[in-house]
């Protein structure tokens, strides 16, 4: 199995871009990544996206590759709800590792701003079970609220402790020039913000974002030829849990977070204590807290409490979400997992333009559904 390196990263800003198209955002990220790689032209263009069908557009690999002058290349879309980006990087990894391709671009893109909030809320619920959950009228926020309520009760976690998560995210994201919401908030702001689905409040929730991010993957042979600062994908793993949450074994643990992290660490021959910097998937505060524990960075029930005590910020190991996470950087759904990889690669290279965590080993974890499809990636300088 050939080793696989990230040799190029590129991101558009995250935000609401009413005047830009999906292909325009994707092209910005792809061209930046190709440039960053030293102009390595990809043979494959893999696209991660969840909701372009709402704009009556599928077949995105063809659309984006041709728009970027790569007609005749290969590609397709990879979808795993909000976890699409991580899954697409896994496909790119396997194409390089198998020798089937020498250079692969993974482009995550989402364009939601032309749709209304109810339309987007409905679209995000496609990640839940359309036959056995949605008919009861529950939303994606509602499903995550059940997890948050159960977690807070089981471990006696206070509202103030949970609020430490979004406060830290906005503190980090304030310095990230790509971030959607660059503003500082307080615990009091979180507690006084409107209820979305009790106990989830507005400031526990990520924004609805547009954005595109791209990475260029290549083999060991080409990595150093094109680039002075290749970053190794040391480990990668994906795991599935049930789509519906009613049949879960446990509600305060994401089985797929644990399994995908175990698979990635095993491949990398590393453990959670080796990680210097991580980007976790905090679509809601509760997702960040639960997976902080499931990946192995905090004991069960202690995630929010440790954040509230000041852990996981610059100077600590690991630093969590120096980008600001989904809460502040934003959540361009199908692109988020690719943003995470770009951000951690830049941290390890030392050229991330916001909060600098540095370090040698990084981790990303990208979640689809309520923990139903999760990909963990371990990167090494």
């Amino acid at each position: 199995m050939s080793k696989v390196y990230v040799v190029g990263v590129g991101m558009s800003n995250v935000g609401r871009f009413y005047e830009r198209s999906l292909r325009d955002l994707a092209a910005e990220a792809l061209f930046k990544a190709i440039g960053d790689s030293g102009n390595l032209i990809p043979e494959y263009v893999l696209v991660s996206n969840m909701l372009s069908s709402q704009a009556e557009q599928e077949n995105l690999a063809s659309l984006i590759a041709d728009y970027c002058g790569l007609r005749g290349s290969s590609g397709f879309k990879v979808e795993a709800a909000c976890g699409s980006g991580g899954a697409a990087v896994l496909v790119g990894y396997s194409l390089i590792a198998s020798g089937l391709a020498k250079a692969v671009a993974v482009v995550g893109v989402e364009k939601l701003s032309e749709r209304t909030t109810p339309e987007v809320a409905r679209g995000l619920a496609y990640a839940a079970d359309a036959d056995f959950e949605l008919p009861y009228g529950i939303s994606f926020s509602g499903l995550n609220a059940l997890v948050m309520r159960y977690y807070m009760m089981k471990y006696n976690v206070k509202r103030e402790e949970m609020s430490a998560w979004p406060v830290l995210m906005h503190e980090n994201g304030y310095y990230n020039p790509y971030a959607h919401l660059r503003m500082r908030i307080t615990v009091d702001d979180v507690i006084k913000s409107p209820v979305i689905a009790d106990p989830i409040r507005l400031l526990d929730s990520c924004p609805i974002s547009d954005g595109a991010a791209a990475v260029i993957l290549t083999s060991e042979e080409l990595a150093r030829k094109y680039n002075d600062t290749p970053v190794l994908i040391a480990g990668i793993g994906n795991a599935l849990d049930s789509t519906d949450i009613s049949s879960r074994y446990e509600l305060d643990t994401f089985l797929a977070s644990k399994l995908s992290a175990e698979r990635a660490f095993k491949l990398a021959k590393l453990s959670p204590k080796d990680v210097d910097v991580a980007e976790l998937h905090d679509a809601y505060s509760i997702n960040g807290v639960v997976t902080l524990e499931d990946v192995g960075f905090a004991p069960k029930g202690m995630g929010a409490k440790l954040i509230a005590q000041g852990r996981f910020r610059i100077g600590d190991k690991p630093v969590i979400n120096p980008s600001g996470g989904l809460k502040s950087r934003g959540h361009p759904v199908g692109a988020t997992g690719v943003y995470q990889v770009c951000e951690v690669v830049m941290q390890l290279r030392g050229d991330f333009p916001g909060v600098k965590a540095g370090g040698e080993v990084g981790l990303t974890q990208n979640i689809g559904g309520v923990g139903s499809n999760i990909t963990t990636i371990i990167l090494r300088r």
Copy 2:
């Protein structure tokens, strides 16, 4: 690069199953394939599908894996419009070839019967360019009609000659117990059938079908341990063309058909003359005819004429679409590419329950869009 074998195949019937759900169809195909493999349990469940978003369901890998008792496995959806199935097999191939997985299930599934024909027609057009084609009101049939008109004029092909394609498909499909439309038709029937988008007539068009098909892929090491009749994936290739047809270099050739076939033949170290049996993607008669030529089985402009002269049926080399093709077997959109692989594997093993082509080398070609995303697979006994 490890060799990759197909050790299990499974299909549901193709048709309109108002009483069955998407997950139910997928489970039938997956369990049949696992049984056929000698009970090799897959680590990955890859799902190919195009239009489940119309039923507000994404995240299909989680949904299907969990429903089939494979919670904790890995997986995601692969989408390339009508070419999703072939693309998903390519991903499965790379997961095995890289050593990242020892056993992969690829499950293609589509469930359209609860939707109206206009809804499905609108959905299929997601494969076209939503910004620059659909606003003009053209349908997917209309786009293919432009190709057919141009092809018939350029090569002076008569309506009677084009009609030989669907007549042969229905002759073959009549014997396929899985086929959606098991009926014989004549050239006269085709010519007198209603116009869909001139010059495409009803009997030039595939039906709208439900169905699921699955294959189990594994490494050389496990292939013979689990199964007496493994079939090698000797070659595989994918290629992209523009999504819109207005910017094509040529309208009577599918660039992606040529390129993907060349890539697959190169990997297999074989050529078109080695192929004994092929399943081509005849969503409309014109797609079958054009790709018969682009793959290399007929000179340009001669595809329909040769079919009308009696070529490509049992006793000839290659035999084309012994399943009945999309025209008669049907076109369960995201599943079609997986059906093709199941059918050719069974032909090479000698256990296909319809028209028996036999042979040692088989080929499948699966098209997404109007030739915008094409995967070619070469199978060898």
